[in-house]
């Protein structure tokens, strides 16, 4: 399971969309918010979280990884 974006905190800067090495996070230009478009392709590298200026991103591992 991929990054979880807290939209209450998100300021819509687009860093996560721009920096995701796997093109997993895209930006909804109409609503001005990022969203996880390809959750199955997440590498869990943490780049989105590292570059989020307002700490709106947490990494939550799914049961398929935690309980394998």
């Amino acid at each position: 399971m991929p990054p979880v974006i807290d939209l209450q905190k998100c300021i819509g800067c687009g860093n996560c969309d721009r920096h995701c090495p796997l093109d997993v996070i895209h930006f909804d230009g109409v609503r001005n918010i990022p969203y996880v478009k390809y959750p199955d392709e997440c590498w869990h590298c943490g780049s989105c979280r590292l570059d989020c200026p307002v700490e709106a991103i947490t990494i939550r591992f799914g049961p398929e990884m935690l309980y394998l």
Partner: protein, 565 residues
């Protein structure tokens, strides 16, 4: 010509084109720019967070002259021993040793020092090293700092760009084409020299976690450089090895060095420290031996297997906890969410997925390079994990920089203006977008999943002549499905191109593995029909494209003399 070109796509012109902006490519750009050449970096992601060290890295191998094991001579002697049969010492001396001092200085200068806050190096010993060669450092911001330095020097960057083919005039490479993975813009880049730096090949073998993108190295690295270099006639070497590592169960994360370097022990279900049964260096054995040990314990019924850090001193545990996220930013989260406390609990581990990569930390797999990082195709250079002599952070940093210097020298010395051929560009454009136009309905994922399962079965950690031939036959059949793979958007188009690259690398791997009739690096190339190491094979299997298909030859390597000049 210019107008005709513009009708086909967006055009760019540069001296040195760098394909892949990761650790090696970014260092190459810095070197080319410092030499006074223009440099353009193309990457599928952003320059700030692309490639294998996107989210950080924590170790850099180096000798620092503090002791007898800590010299250039001792290092190369060890390299020749641990990577014997694939490593070219003369190239290692050029791409690493001669560039090492400058690399350490450069990292300091860009603000990512290898030193601890107290000004000293923190060094650890693992993976068969004769002394603590690994410098432990905080590389979480290394990638963005390198990016900033390249931009400061004037690098041009083409982000979200998937390079799909190289251009040639029949003799030299003259540029490349690619597309934007969001809007589908077609790019035509004219260049006097090219550095390929797109890393190793992942998503190649079935992933034990069942999640193909849960890979140890970056899953966006799928062998683009290897495939494109092969297409233009460059030679490749060391392609037969299936690199595997040991990872926390469920998460194919880097971090093993940190754990074993600090003194973590491998234990099985009954608590036995089993690695000493497989290698005299025990828990600090070469990586392929660790993998063999873990696999055997599991398959012979002595699992689960764990890393035990409970015996570490409080200060070592504190250091470990503080620095574990440097190599894989999210590993501490994973360990915490599993409910594991390294000071109190065992951490369950498993073998990772297989990948195409160098069989040792000190030798690569991929495009055959010489002492100047030049491939056998004029104007084409290779750096980082896609080059046959580069691997790991230290060589990708030093060798990447050397590649940029050499490519800039070539570009500025040639005096020749590259001539682009319109029919070639039209052909590559048609090929690039074909999956958007097909009436087929197969998804890239289905083909990839099949390939991964089939390859693990036939060309994984146990392989023989028949299984490799079967793999090649099935890969050929899978190739036939390609015209039916459909991409619904440009993101998917990128993935289809990646699937194609993975398939081509798989063919190279099986062909090279057939030619190496011995076992070397344990499970990394375990021929069940030739189960022993054979001194006759102290050298590289080299492969290249001919009109009759893939050809291989054997290149003997010399280990009698250590090059020190």
């Amino acid at each position: 010509m210019a107008k005709n070109l513009e009708k086909l796509g967006v055009t760019f012109e540069t001296d040195v084109l760098i394909v892949g902006g990761g650790l090696a490519g970014n260092n190459a750009a810095i070197a080319a720019l410092e030499k006074g050449a223009r440099a353009l970096i193309a990457d599928k992601s952003s320059l700030y967070r692309c490639g294998a060290i996107a989210g950080g890295v924590d170790h850099f191998m180096a000798y620092l002259g503090t002791d007898t094991w800590d010299t250039q001579e001792a290092y190369l002697e060890w390299v020749g021993r641990i990577a014997r049969g694939v490593v070219n010492l003369s190239v290692q001396n050029a791409v690493f040793c001669k560039e090492l001092d400058a690399a350490i200085e450069r990292m300091d200068r860009i603000g990512c020092t290898l030193k601890q806050p107290d000004g000293n190096f923190f060094r650890t010993q693992s993976l068969g090293q004769p002394g603590p060669y690994f410098i432990n450092f905080n590389g979480k911001q290394l990638k963005p700092l390198l990016a900033k330095e390249a931009l400061r020097l004037g690098a041009e960057v083409l982000e979200k760009c998937s390079i799909s083919g190289l251009l040639t005039d029949g003799e030299n490479v003259t540029g490349a084409v690619g597309f934007n993975i969001r809007n589908g813009n077609f790019y035509i880049i004219k260049a006097k020299a090219i550095v390929l730096a797109t890393g190793n090949t992942n998503r190649l073998f079935e992933n034990p976690s069942g999640l193909p993108f849960n890979t140890w190295q970056c899953p966006a690295n799928t062998g683009a450089a290897q495939t494109m270099a092969y297409e233009v006639g460059a030679k490749l070497a060391n392609m037969e090895f299936v690199r595997i590592t040991v990872v926390p169960r469920g998460f194919s994360a880097a971090g093993l060095n940190a754990l074993t370097g600090m003194g973590g022990k491998f234990v099985n279900a009954s608590g036995e420290e089993f690695m000493s049964r497989y290698h005299p260096s025990g828990n600090r054995s070469p990586r392929y031996k660790l993998v063999e040990g873990v696999m055997k314990e599991l398959y012979e019924g002595r699992g689960p297997v764990y890393i035990d850090c409970r015996h570490l001193s409080q200060s070592d545990l504190d250091h470990l906890k503080r620095t574990l996220g440097y190599d894989k930013d999210t590993l501490p989260d994973f360990i915490e969410q599993k409910g594991v406390d390294l000071g109190k609990d065992l951490l369950e581990i498993m073998p990772s997925e297989g990948m195409q990569a160098g069989p040792s930390e000190v030798c690569g797999s991929g495009i055959l390079i010489d002492e100047k990082t030049a491939s056998t195709a004029p104007g084409l250079f290779a750096a980082g994990d896609c080059a046959d002599q580069m691997r790991c952070v230290h060589i990708c940093t030093t060798g990447g920089y050397l590649a940029g210097k050499m490519a800039a020298e070539f570009a500025m010395g040639s005096g020749k203006e590259p001539k682009l051929r319109l029919p070639q560009i039209r052909e590559l454009r048609k090929k690039a977008f074909a999956p958007m136009r097909t009436s087929g309905t197969i998804s890239y994922r289905k083909v990839e999943d099949t390939l991964r399962k089939m390859l693990w079965q036939n060309a994984g950690p146990a392989r023989n002549e028949r299984s490799l031939q079967v793999a090649l036959e099935k890969l050929e059949e899978l190739s036939q499905c390609f015209k039916e793979i459909r991409a619904k958007n440009y993101h998917e188009l990128m993935r289809v191109h990646e699937t194609h690259q993975i398939l081509e690398v798989a063919k190279m791997m099986c062909t090279a593995a057939l030619a190496r009739k011995e076992t070397r690096f344990g499970v990394y190339h375990h021929r069940t029909d030739y189960p022993e190491v054979d001194e006759e094979y102290e050298g590289q299997i080299v492969l290249w494209k001919t009109e009759q298909g893939m050809k291989t030859s054997f290149k003997k390597l010399d280990y009698d003399k250590i090059p020190l000049s």
